[in-house]
């Protein structure tokens, strides 16, 4: 327990100091990892915690990104101010589209979410409502500003993105250890038993989608701010698949695992650059091998620990 925390602390320290000795390229890779980590953590709520097969997460990411981009380019809202709007837009979108399909099970939900992702992408390409810019997307998004400081370079984005990851980890960790987090796990393990224990499974399914979507929406906003141009290609089916793989490979339901998974799936291919055109081949192979070796994911979740100490009827038994 303590040793684990020590390892986490060391890793966090390595990460925080990394901009000091990495060049812009590698810092940018880290930024990419950070954005995917946000996405994966948000998907983890839906897929890992609640066990709902969502392979269309890019849809929520897209809604958030476009919401931010449109507010910024059309209405001159500073991009970071649009963050709550992106969250709300993606969350509302989740309420709208998830409600009718939430009762679908397993692979049926999976293909429906794939479908939703594709519908969104196609709608963006075809310039729905004339505000998405069609295949060109939206360009000229302002760089974000914090306290008058304009963020441009990878080294600057690093702090914005990873700061947001840190906040997310903190909040999601608490959420996991709350009534809400537990309810999602019950739902995942056995929906009938959960309902029979008095949990409104329908509502929690939806709530998981909304929380996950809202967070993906904010990740989308940061993505738009970083790229300063967004277009439908950035929200393809493949993006959803990548995030899906991250969650499962890392250890569905465990945030440390998801984070590790992000480093592996987003960071590793960069390290394989030495293999030139064979690098994706190596990547595919590595994924198969990792899954076969760690069949539950690299860091599968364990049961929650509780502090029984000091509770009524506890004769000082430590746990």
């Amino acid at each position: 327990m303590n040793r684990r925390n020590l390892i986490y602390a060391i890793l966090a320290l390595v990460l925080v100091t990394s901009p000091a000795y990495l060049n812009a390229y590698w810092v940018d890779v880290l930024n990419s990892v950070g954005l995917y980590a946000l996405l994966a953590l948000s998907l983890n709520v839906i897929l890992g915690d609640a066990g709902m097969y969502n392979m269309g997460h890019a849809a929520f990411y897209a809604v958030g990104a476009y919401c931010g981009a449109i507010l910024n380019t059309q209405f001159d809202v500073p991009i970071l101010w649009a963050l709550p709007a992106s969250a709300v837009a993606a969350g509302l979108f989740a309420v709208l589209i998830a409600r009718p399909v939430i009762h679908l099970r397993g692979d049926y939900l999976l293909i429906v979410t794939v479908g939703i992702g594709e519908i969104i992408r196609i709608a963006l390409i075809n310039d729905v409502f004339g505000i998405t810019g069609g295949p060109n997307g939206i360009f000229g998004i302002d760089r974000p500003e914090i306290f008058g400081f304009r963020i441009r370079r990878p080294h600057e984005f690093f702090w914005l993105i990873w700061g947001f990851v840190a906040i997310t980890l903190f909040l999601f960790h608490r959420l996991h250890h709350s009534r809400f987090g537990r309810a999602l796990n019950y739902l995942r393990e056995d929906a009938v038993a959960a309902e029979g224990s008095g949990i409104n499974t329908g509502r929690y399914r939806l709530a998981a989608f909304v929380v996950g979507a809202a967070w993906a929406g904010m990740a989308g906003n940061l993505f738009a701010a970083k790229m300063s141009i967004i277009s439908p290609e950035s929200f393809s089916f493949w993006e959803s698949v990548v995030v899906f793989m991250i969650v499962i490979l890392g250890g569905a339901g465990n945030m440390a695992g998801v984070l590790l998974g992000t480093f592996l799936i987003i960071g590793l291919p960069e390290m394989f650059r030495g293999f030139a055109s064979g690098r994706m081949l190596v990547f595919g192979l590595v994924m198969m091998v990792m899954m076969v070796v760690r069949t539950q994911g690299i860091l599968p979740p364990g049961p929650r620990k509780f502090k029984f100490l000091g509770l009524k009827g506890e004769g000082g038994k430590a746990s």
Partner: protein, 351 residues
Amino acid sequence: KSIKIGLMAPMTGSWASEGQDMKQIVELLAKDINDKGGINGDQIEILVEDDGGDPRTASLAAQRLATQGVVAVVGTYGSSVTEASQTIYDDFQIPQVANGSTAVRLTEKGLKYFFRTCPRDDEQGRVAAGTLEKMGFKKVAVLHDNTSYAKGLAEETMALLKDKGIEVVFSDALTPGERDYNAILTKMKSAGPEAVFFTGYYPEAGLLLRQKMEMNWNVPFLGGDATNNPDLVKIAGNKAAEGFYFLSPPVPQDLPAQKAKDFLAAYQKKYGAAPGSIWAVLAGDGFLAVTAAIEGAKSTKPDDLADYMHKKMKDAQGLTGTITFNDKGDRVGEVYKVYKVDAEGKFVLQP
């Protein structure tokens, strides 16, 4: 000490053959210069990054080049791919010379470090509309593939056609990467166009031609510059490709300049075949423009290079002719020509 110049090209993905050609051409030109002692005494080193023909891969490739100390970047092919990398190079203040990206928008953003050796789609649209008018069609169908280049060109052309009183009886987008376009062809056929203008890329164009033949539909097809690739004929087959018109800057074998002829001979000698399309050759032009700027400005500083190319460079020698850029970074001059595929599958320049 050597000067590093980046090349960003689709080495994988559906346009991989274009990327391979780009690399070979630029490397051959670089060797030529190095053999002659380099520029201002410095040798040139080419760093190649794969953009996969995909915008997301491209933005990573751009980051990577930008952090390896290149003084300028040549590339890339498709407009949407280029667009994803533009701001990154701009942030790092690295001049970029695109070779195939014709979308109008790219040079309308006022980016100081962006140039291109290819023409623009507004010119292409004009030539397309003019050609359709000259051939005497009154009703045409316009089909694109929902990429930013293809859609832009389609819209550009349709606006011009309307001005000329030519009716656009059908316009829609297909999904690239599919195999079966019969549904679209059937729908288009029933709209009764006298000609079809397809603004997408060659893999789809080949399939369209072939399937059109199979449904016994003999409508003339005109393609945009992205159909200019010999693979088109391979995919469609000679019979289906025969009679297909397309727009393009002059294809390699039609280049008038002696420099081009010599270079192509050397290329043929080294690699065994001529470059497939003009776009790879335009990457060579981009490289030559950069080296000319380094030589002329006697500097590798980004601002010096950009200034030189914008203002001082006049009629630099390129493979496809002389190179001059305007304030926006566009190449000066009219270059679009009409080609037709003959029975052997050769591209024949139309008068």
